[in-house]
């Protein structure tokens, strides 16, 4: 079968090879074309991997990687980060009782406050994260359990959420908005940060709650049904809130209609499922006020937590992270170390190859002769 398909190709060949014959009586010759391609003589670069030839590559990689690594490491080290675990596992933790009592159907909010001290001032904008550990947001069925059309405000999807949302699709025949397990497990702790003055007074640190989600998410992917006006009207009646939620979706941020409903940025951030079981999500931004004073001066702080989110059942942890940010994101010395390590290994292997080269590969000169 393939033979016949092949023959067709063969017939396509131009009889240019027959030019040498030239006789008018010559019927089209089958002589193959003398082209570089057909004769497999295309000009080619033929690298031969020997110690001698790859030596420079190793040294070059080493020499490039090590400075990059050092640069990255330094950058990462300049980033200030503060992290505090407020799960309340230990008895002496201020949130111990809250942690004990919190459950999804708990309606009475439990509050606790954690004191901490910043040793160093945070100069630039500070990003406030909440972090969860042992929370498998990347679980296969969890990841799927959402309806993007619904979140985009699609009317039909609102009424008939996708099957993927099961079993958080409808309660008693009434569609859930937003449906699905991701939305259902929305992180609902509230964190407030207070700076304790030298004189002991609590000053609330202003937390900006906008601009924490991707711009495209906020403006393209997520949309409220019927625009942002009168969300209550849009949602009320036909829908029920997710089972774990305390309040319906249109009351996520009643103060700001631009941040309410599906386009609530905390909600949007949560809906971006984390890659790994230990993750952080941007919660608030503390903006730099002036160039003279640090955003967060060193000193004592109190974190007030409205403790709603139960994590102990799956041995999870909750953290609050304060971090400045650089061009390469948050604090992560790994990449710098990796660069330095790989660079050093390359350099070392380069040296090994050099030895091999001088000890054994004296004929490399032949290989080096350019073709």
């Amino acid at each position: 079968m393939m033979a016949s398909s092949y023959n067709a190709k063969e017939e396509d060949g131009h009889p240019s090879g027959a030019s040498g014959h030239g006789g008018p009586g010559v019927v089209k010759s089958k002589k193959p074309d003398n082209t570089a391609f057909k004769q497999q003589r295309l000009p080619a670069w033929q690298p031969i991997l020997t110690a001698g030839t790859v030596l420079p590559a190793f040294f070059v990689i080493g020499l490039i990687f090590i400075p990059i690594g050092i640069g990255l490491f330094v950058t990462s080290n300049n980033i200030k980060e503060f992290e505090i675990d407020y799960t309340g596992v230990d008895m002496d933790s201020p949130c111990y009782t809250c942690a004990k009592n919190s459950s999804w159907n708990n309606t009475t909010p439990c509050t606790c406050s954690v004191d901490f001290t910043l040793e160093q001032p945070f100069e630039s904008n500070v990003f406030m994260y909440y972090g969860l550990s042992n929370f498998y947001q990347n679980h296969r069925r969890y990841v799927k359990s959402r309806d993007d059309s619904q979140l985009n405000g699609g009317r039909s999807a609102l009424m008939e959420p996708s099957k993927e949302c099961e079993p958080y699709r409808k309660t008693d025949g009434v569609p859930i908005a937003p449906c699905g397990a991701i939305a259902n497990s929305l992180f609902n702790d509230t964190l407030e940060l207070f700076h304790i003055d030298s004189n002991g007074s609590r000053n609330a640190v202003p937390l900006v709650k906008k601009g924490i989600a991707w711009w495209t998410d906020k403006h393209v992917k997520f949309r409220n049904p019927g625009g942002n006006n009168n969300l209550t009207l849009a949602f009320q009646g036909d829908f029920s809130k997710p089972v774990n939620w305390r309040k319906p979706v249109y009351e996520l941020d009643p103060s700001d209609p631009e941040n309410n409903g599906f386009i609530n940025e905390d909600f949007i951030v949560w809906m971006r499922t984390a890659a790994l079981p230990t993750f952080r999500k941007l919660y608030r931004i503390i903006q730099k006020k002036s160039s003279t004073t640090p955003t967060l001066p060193s000193g004592k702080y109190t974190l007030d937590i409205t403790y709603n989110y139960p994590v102990l059942s799956f041995d999870g942890r909750k953290r609050m992270i304060l971090s400045t940010i650089s061009w390469m994101g948050g604090k992560n010395p790994f990449l710098g170390i990796a660069y330095i390590t790989v660079g050093s290994i390359c350099f070392f292997l380069g040296v090994v190859l050099l030895i091999i080269h001088y000890k054994y590969d004296t004929r490399n000169n032949s290989a080096d002769i350019p073709n």
């Binding site: 033979a3 398909s5 799927k144 099961e166 390469m328």
Partner: protein, 1453 residues
Amino acid sequence: MARRSSEDTGTVKAPESRRQRKKRSKENKTRTVHANLLYDAANKGEENPNRHYANNKIKTTKYTVLSFLPKNLFEQFHRFANVYFVFIALLNFVPVVNAFQPELALAPVVFILSVTAIKDLWEDYRRHRSDKEINHMDCLVFSRAERRYVEKYWKEVRVGDFIRLRCNEILPADVLLLSSSDPDRLCHIETATLDGETNLKQRQVVRSFFDLDCEFDPLKYNSIIECEKPNNDLNRFRGYIIHRSGRRDALYKENLLLRGCTIRNTEEAVGIVIYAGHETKAMLNNNGPRYKRSKLERQMNVDVFWCVVILLVLCLFAAIGHGLWMFQYGDKRPVFDVLSPEGTDLSPIMSAIYLFLTMIIVFQVLIPISLFVSIEIVKICQVYFIHQDMDLYDEETDSHLQCRALNITEDLGQMQYIFSDKTGTLTENKMVFRRCTVAGVEYSHDANAKRLAMYQEMDSEEEECTSHGGTLPRRDSVTSHQTGRRPSEPASCPSTQPSAAPWLVSSAVLLFSCCRLFTDKTCSVPQEKDITPDPKLLDKVNDCSSQMDFMRFHSQPMSQLPSDLSDTIDFFIALTICNTVVVSSPNQPSLKFSFLSLFIVLLCCPLCQCNCSHFLMMPLWLTQHLKDLYLYICENCGSCCQETSNYDGKASWNIEEGELRYEAESPDEAALVYAARAYKCSLVGRLPDQVTVELPHLGKLSFELLHTLGFDSTRKRMSVVVRHPLTDQITVYTKGADSVIMDLIKPPNTGNSKGKRQKKIVCRTQNYLNLYAADGLRTLCIAKKILSQEEYACWLQRHLEAETAIQGREQLLFESALRLETNLQLLGATGIEDRLQDGVPETIASLRKAGLQIWVLTGDKQETAVNIAYACKLLDPEEEILTLNADSQEACALFAPFDLHPSSSLSSSSSHAAPFLVHRLGLVIDGRTLAYALDKSLEDKFLAVARSCRSVLCCRSTPLQKSMVVKLVRNKLKVMTLAIGDGANDVSMIQVADVGVGISGQEGMQAVMASDFALPRFRYLQKLLLVHGHWCYSRLANMILYFFYKNAMFVALIFWFQFYCGFSGSAMIDQWYLIFFNLMFSAFPQLITGTLDKDVSAETLQHLPQLYVNGQNSEEYKPYMFWMNMIDAFYQSLMCFFIPYFAYADSDMDLFTWGTPITTLALFTILLHLGIETKTWTWMNWLSIAFSIALFFTVALCYNASCPTCYSPSNPYWTMQRLLQDPLFYLLCIITPVAALLPRYFYRACQGTLFPSPVQVGRQLDKLPADTRRNILSLTRVKVGSPLSPKPPFLSLSKASPKGCNKNDQRSISGSKTLEATQGQADEEEDRSCLSGPTDSEMHLSDLYTLVPSEIDTLPYTKDAPQPAGELQPPSTEVSECLDKTLEPSDVSLSSWITSTPLLTPADSVQLNLLPDGAPQCVRYSRNSEDRLKPDHAVHPAHRTEQEVEQLLHTKL
């Protein structure tokens, strides 16, 4: 296509119910054909007994519009992989286990299936078109209603129809010839489309219609034909015709015209259709291309199986992990563990089971879905390039290599044994008459030899300038019959004939040949036809014939002629008539169409004088005119024309005498006829019952041809029975192989002088025969026998019985022939030279250097074969020849000593003798011995002996034996075998071998039809194997390994992720990327590399055949390499996973934004990995890699911008765009591939320096400047050519001794004689190279190429014990190993029936020890063992003198 043949005769309702009942017992074996005319009337159509036979409509398509989809899918699902992938895709539709969007998961398998389906559809459409074209060709069918022949389409022809055929028409069906316009009731057909043979064949009108005076009238026909069921044997047709009168006449294959053949030289013929459509022999023979599975693919399938195992292990691991993960949460279900859609809670065990299935889906990529398709694509490209190779193009025949089997190209690179035919394969199969002996007198034809030598020189000089005309001697005679088709064109499909009225084309050709006569008087005369007669013999012939003439004139009895003279003339008569040569001349058809040709010549004369080729291109109007002209002639002068041709029939010979051409089935027949013509005994005409010979002085003599007993390979002779016109005696002339003829010679009665003379003749002839054989000539004996009338009558009676028998006719005829061919009288013998093809010795030498074992299997006699073997360097004068000639009874017994050598004596011998390894043995075995050697009980021993020999020559072997030898070697030794041959007798061997190669040469196309590759010349085998085979193998092997690596690497990424997602079967890679990664993003570069990569240049590969060992030992793809690749894949995926993992650990990265960089990194790593493995970078490689990367980013960007709410669950809106703004992404893209590929790169570099494979050294050689390289190559060639170092010296490239030329430490080996010699040689070489090396590098390289003599060099069977280069053990240990092994009981020594002919050390015996397992054989050559030789151990020094040869011949044990 439903064959209705099974039911055909079963339901016949013939009116002759009585006969039918009688025949019922035979019903299942025969077919009855009635004339359709009897049933043409409308009401009788139902009764037509022929209606159940297949009609002539052919349908080779596999599908119809409706059946295409189901049938094609059904066929595709025969491939297990497809079923697997569909199963996986369907699994996605089960909600509990689904991993991907079900529709998306179907995409790849649908893609693969549809690509294949489109390919099939297109091929089927082509078949449909050609079917339609063929079905709508016209032919003339007799219509009862109109009482004349009417034009009908081929497809309307039915069994039982009468059809009229005109010259140059193609036969629409298998037709029984009932009438012919030829005065001799003959019809010539050309069977080129069936068997490729271009000579015309004669077919005869059925005997009972032979004497018909008037034209055949179908209406008067009322006979019934009974014949065999349709079968595919082209050379057999049996049946009989029953006339109304009850008379029966036998039918032979000579009466049957086969579909697809072309009527030639016969103006008109009428016949009845016997088999039609798919039941014709041509169609039954057409069984499509062959599919073989290559060794590499078999190996690959094992690894596919391992992939499945790995897949299951991974899935199992994940499932258990998931179960445990679930279990740790106990009853408290975490919020992220979503309930099943039904809201039910799953137990950990159930979830684990479901997860197992999910993981199979997620990891499905591990089984490479596109691998099979990619391999097919790459193979097609490889075949394309092999086709396009100029070096494999033969200008003389304008043909190039054909790949007929497309899926075993890589097998070419892995061959270990070559089985070659001799005649036509190693030799030209252009027979040249060289010498003859008549009545015991030798005529050496010295002048002829001299002239030939001169001719050859001239030939080579003129080759350049004459080749363009393509006037190959043989083709000359062909062009007059052929319609522009070349003989080498594949004739597999008889249905592709042009449908244009064939006569038009043929008349053009005819015209062309006419033109040639006018313009090109100096027709090139083929050299083999030119024979300078020996003057002595010529005188004798003249003398003799003049005497005979005189005697005839005086009506004296011929018996008075001196016996040597009568022998001479009989000898030439035998040469002339004892054959099946057909006489033709290029003008013959034109004579039969004398009017037409006259007109055409008149018409075209002016044109002809300018240029013939212009005529062929003349506009249509002329051909239109010609058609009108032709019709005019046909209508008005038809009868006249016929009369003229009848009239001219006999006379025409005179005119054309000088131009006579002989078309013979085998070239040696033609050579003999031409030789006879040189002595003025020329064959001028052959009719079925008469041969016309022209003799000097005597003029034309017509011999009544009573019988022709054709040649067959069992009898090895042919005979004709004629009535001698001068003596009126019934004479049998027999021509055949000397061995059989000599046995059939009448034992001379030594009593009288005549008997003594006879004895002398026989004796002398035998001597000369031996001489001829020693010169490598093909010998034939000519004998005659005179039958008395009574003897003849007696024989004839039984012969006729045999002829008319239906059952076992062949056997009966065979026995009948045996009865006739006895008590012959020897006339003489001929020696025909079969010249070696160009470059055969060089090719054999280099193939052997490539580590290939070459066996020659030939039907020729031993001496001829041995001599050809010497000529083509298969046997070396310096090697010893074991000759195995055994008689039937003793053979088995004589084999016994092979395994029953007392071990004690051996051990003692090894203690006091210093044995050394014999590395040069040649085995010659004849057919009779071979028959016993191939016996079940002895085959192992035979193989053991054969393996220890450097070359094996089997002579006198039958086709069946050839295939048995191949099968034996293939099955027992588990090696890759290649069989190459050109004739029908090689077909079985070609089919049995792993790779069959046909030489598209002189002996028809059967071998080509059966072959996988068809070559125009033997020497092309060198490039085909050494270059293309090597490339195809290394390309494909590397590609397959890469494929496994690629898929494993990609899948492992997801596997690592399972540890971080609770083994939930989640994937961080977007499912679109996951599914299209293989199919699109990473597909092209590997295809380009798989098609174009060249590890070593063609030039170096040809100069260093040793590099071929690479493929033989499967060094590119060893089983451990699969696992190495797997490990590397896992390492690389670890890097590609964990670098991004740590880089994004504890960040706000979301799942798919994190997965996208991983995909990108994997792509980069995979492409760079390919980069490391790519040896040659052409612009196409660069382009493909750039394209792949560009494609990925383009697709990703488009995909990520296309829809904000789609593609759940990843919903990757703007992901890539954001990533591209992230500097971290770029940093990852730099470090990860580097870290991942570091080990492999480092390993490759170290390997290249510390232990380079021979291939790598070859590549280094490639990089040298051309002249330096040439110097080195020529140096190595000198060394390789030196007789004692058959193996490449450069195996020692490992840098065991870094010090310049001082190699002595490497060669401190036990001082055996051979090794010393080798060492001396090598030292010499080395000194030379050191002195002459102009540059440092060259000096160094030459240094590298010096020889390290070790047993790896000296043993011819090193591939049985492959040793990695660079790990050469000190030979002494090997020797000791051999010593140990000799203690094993199954040792072998040669017994007396093996004649050992050592040249160097004449009085040694040879011992072979046979080891039970596949361990290396040690052949010990012990000098001090003569004392143990039995007296009958015949040891001959191989002085190839005449006496010796004779002695050898008669050594029967």
